[in-house]
Subunit: 332 residues, 4 copies
Amino acid sequence: MLPTTEPRPPFDITRASHVSLTVRDLGASRDFYRDVIGLVVTEETRDAVYFRGLEEAVHHSLTLYRTDGAPLADRVGFRVATDEDIDLAEDHFRRTGVPHRRVEKPFQGPTLQFTDAVGTHMEFTSSMDVVDRRMQEFHEYRAGSPQRIDHFQVVTHDVQASTDFWAGLGMRLSEFTAKDGTDELWGTWMEVKGNTHDLVFTNGRGPRLHHFAYTVPDASSLIHAADVAGSLGFGEEIDRGPGRHGISNALFLYLRDPDQHRIELFTTHYQFIDLEAPPIRWEISNPRRSQVWGMPASRRWFFEASEFADEPVHEPLLSATPATLEDYLALH
Amino acid sequence: MLPTTEPRPPFDITRASHVSLTVRDLGASRDFYRDVIGLVVTEETRDAVYFRGLEEAVHHSLTLYRTDGAPLADRVGFRVATDEDIDLAEDHFRRTGVPHRRVEKPFQGPTLQFTDAVGTHMEFTSSMDVVDRRMQEFHEYRAGSPQRIDHFQVVTHDVQASTDFWAGLGMRLSEFTAKDGTDELWGTWMEVKGNTHDLVFTNGRGPRLHHFAYTVPDASSLIHAADVAGSLGFGEEIDRGPGRHGISNALFLYLRDPDQHRIELFTTHYQFIDLEAPPIRWEISNPRRSQVWGMPASRRWFFEASEFADEPVHEPLLSATPATLEDYLALH
Amino acid sequence: MLPTTEPRPPFDITRASHVSLTVRDLGASRDFYRDVIGLVVTEETRDAVYFRGLEEAVHHSLTLYRTDGAPLADRVGFRVATDEDIDLAEDHFRRTGVPHRRVEKPFQGPTLQFTDAVGTHMEFTSSMDVVDRRMQEFHEYRAGSPQRIDHFQVVTHDVQASTDFWAGLGMRLSEFTAKDGTDELWGTWMEVKGNTHDLVFTNGRGPRLHHFAYTVPDASSLIHAADVAGSLGFGEEIDRGPGRHGISNALFLYLRDPDQHRIELFTTHYQFIDLEAPPIRWEISNPRRSQVWGMPASRRWFFEASEFADEPVHEPLLSATPATLEDYLALH
Amino acid sequence: MLPTTEPRPPFDITRASHVSLTVRDLGASRDFYRDVIGLVVTEETRDAVYFRGLEEAVHHSLTLYRTDGAPLADRVGFRVATDEDIDLAEDHFRRTGVPHRRVEKPFQGPTLQFTDAVGTHMEFTSSMDVVDRRMQEFHEYRAGSPQRIDHFQVVTHDVQASTDFWAGLGMRLSEFTAKDGTDELWGTWMEVKGNTHDLVFTNGRGPRLHHFAYTVPDASSLIHAADVAGSLGFGEEIDRGPGRHGISNALFLYLRDPDQHRIELFTTHYQFIDLEAPPIRWEISNPRRSQVWGMPASRRWFFEASEFADEPVHEPLLSATPATLEDYLALH
């Protein structure tokens, strides 16, 4: 069932903003994101490394924390417009029973952590320390030359619930997949910043973070990222692409980091601002939703994702989906 | 003096949306925008041609009208979020003494025309007829493969007045040029859709429409547009570029149409959403504001622009500016 | 065992030049090569279509003939420098017992057909009708914008024999694969025009034509070709790529035509002229020879190829090779 | 008058190969060619720096020598096929009265220096020390990612004499400019390696080295080179381009090094092997020969070039040419 986007949301979410992960070897992971992906290292401490894209004026869009345990997804972050929106969010979560807490985080303004309707570990912040944009230091461009963080994809056992939750906070559906001839949602692409997606939910064992995505300038950057991955020994860590998604029209490349967290590099999607433009529906049986052309994704891409700390993973409510290997292979 | 952006504007402007021009030979101009630029023809009548970019789901972002007189800029169009915003805008203009009138325009929802503080002929609409996005019909891509309209640049005799007017409607300054060591604004880049600009004002004889701009997918598209212009006999109608603006970081190419209206093709600018990010100031004496590298712009680019019907053109208030030929030549 | 290139060959081969295929539906195949690949149609008759690349000044580099039978590879063509070289080749083949015959072919100069040491159906010609280069008609560029034919790859049961044959005619080895630690050749890349290859032989059931290849201007053209294949319904006919070969450093995309003949589009390889530069050896067990990064090739790419008319196909002499499915899957 | 290419030249020239220049600040020039252009430093001594392109397996294609005097062009180098060709060249020059001498040069095989018919300082060598190709070390790609040296352009007072000299050594004319309606050659593009040019002569004060050229992978590399030039402070040292030459179809960018020597980066030209393809003639009055589109070249590009040591510069024999400022400005 299509969600109803709240036209007057209780507070103002502005964009997908930052993500944090735990990793086992901080040095190896720093090298990966700096040299194979091309992110800028803003700051490095004994236990954390902070990165940003070349055009970003914020302190970080990716944070890695050292762990001695299993590597996990830590937090998925969004920006709200002002400090007042943090207060309004807190009020709203209190009223509606969403688990939340205020936290102090270095380099961030007021920050509110919470767990969404399907268990995803999230946080809002209203500002970050301002740093310089590096986009015109062209001699520092490396690998994919990632410009900015763009969106997150989360695997969930209940796409309907997660979609309703975020529509209630003002997010708008741009595209979706549904079981053929039904209104059973299998995947939803939701946005708040005026293009196709800030947050994606797809059906499967969840909650797990499937990937976070950075924009790159063009197809050449994407190919160069693949070439650099190859020459630095990460050629086998591309688990999908290059290819073109039917949904959102993204030209994509997916890579796995040393702890098997997944990052997508892609060329940016289309504008989605006008209210009269309806969301695009794709039947699950249509393979073009997933790719207009190209080699099939690997099994790893379909079945592996990063879990959240102490958050139980649930089997998907919609069991008969193409997310099974048999269906996948039959489709390709 | 920097303008104060109204945080609670009287109505909700969402994006630069559409432009109309008058031309002397409708067939020649249609061929230019379809074949040399690569726009999609949505509809053609005896007296008008309607175009859109490849990804646009709206009926038109560029309209050409046949004229027997001098070719002119007709209207510069923005979108507001809802029909209610049109009503609110009408109220606001009535209260504040802005000349305006409701009009019926084919393929558009409620439409309000008005003249801004410096005489620019503008209009708001809240919706358009929905048509299909052509962005995945890759075999129809031609020339620059323009995806969507992005922004307008207007030459004005009073940058301060025009900037204050639009800041009062909620537009936000992303970058600006000022006379060295003063707060005299020479050019302002203002945005409402979350990246560097929807509307630009620069100092000079005005009001005149300097150009309207479409995004293209990448540097290769820009070069292909130039190549196609060359092979179709319009190679001399490139009056600037390819080059890289310091301001906004755009990779640009400017072309003149058969009536000497100017269109910019460029690769899209950076995101500008977070409120803590300050606008970037450029001193007029810094040539990198205008281009990081590349051959100087032509005299035509600096001094020619499209006038509006029956709208007197004023000499600029700031007379001693680099917009004089001598300064320009001295700078390069 | 490495072949000995004849420094004073009996005649002067200059380049890979043209290929002919039989197809069942001439119209469908013409549409494919014109619209999905982007070749120029030079001429079309009831029973044949002649194509060339955008920069080619020759009448044809690809010819399709209508067939009512099974679609087959017809002839693989090379150029020799002058008419005298045709005479010299004829003498040479007579002396050395190579099956050959003079033929008259429209649009070609003196033409000599022959069968090489492993049964490949070949022909030499010394000239073709001159037509105009279309490379500066940029508005006619479509899909991959293929510029010129570049090389052929033939599957053979006896790589050593085929390699020795062509080295004896002056071809030079640029790269090769060999069974680890042995001098058993598994694949050979041979050239005559000063870059990595004009003719490739790989181990397998043969003789069969694996593919013919055209150069495209850049990575963006390759991606656009894939996009156009997708939008015209041929997205599933990409059976490998985009990817980067270790051997020759080609950025590649392989597509199957309506009769399952295979064409490669690629960005051009490196220069190989200086005699002191040794050929590059790759061990068969090194997966980087085949691709530096990217998704594995499909089974179709590994096992399917076009047979030649009335030419028996032999099982490969080197049976224990990675060209078996088990080895292939184990490698990826 | 068109030259007659010698079909059986006295020795075998294979390609444009290397160039040497004198510079005043070796460190600054090394930084320029390594960081702004992207060449690989093979070796550095107190008085010289040796560079090669990313795909080159030879020790050097560019050598810089420290000078305390005026910076000059030193030698323009070509490869011959074998040591025997050096002997044959020596015999030929002795017989025909061409000034020459054998020299020992580090990292090069037998080397023969000579002065051509118009005073250009040249040398042949038959081999160089073999080093590794870096083309698959994609993480080392910088700026334009130049792959290999390609050709030289020399300004000469007597285009006819220089062209005849080189045609007599086997070089072949691919394109040329001539004074309208006459057979007075104004510029000649000559090749030996199978594409449009290895050596270009244009009318003017000479002999002076106008530029040497490296190939880059694609249009994106060219733009990135310009961006890097901009961010490293060399944005004003682009004295022409990006643009598209009509002649040879090259997409070009010209930069000046710290001593004002000129390097061209360009995407590679078309194949020119078949003997039946005639050279392309361009009338001097046709501005498309010089550029299909784009901003006019600077005066610097037209009038500045590098002199050779102790070699007198002659006024051009053809005085009424477009190489005068008046004509140039009139053309644009």
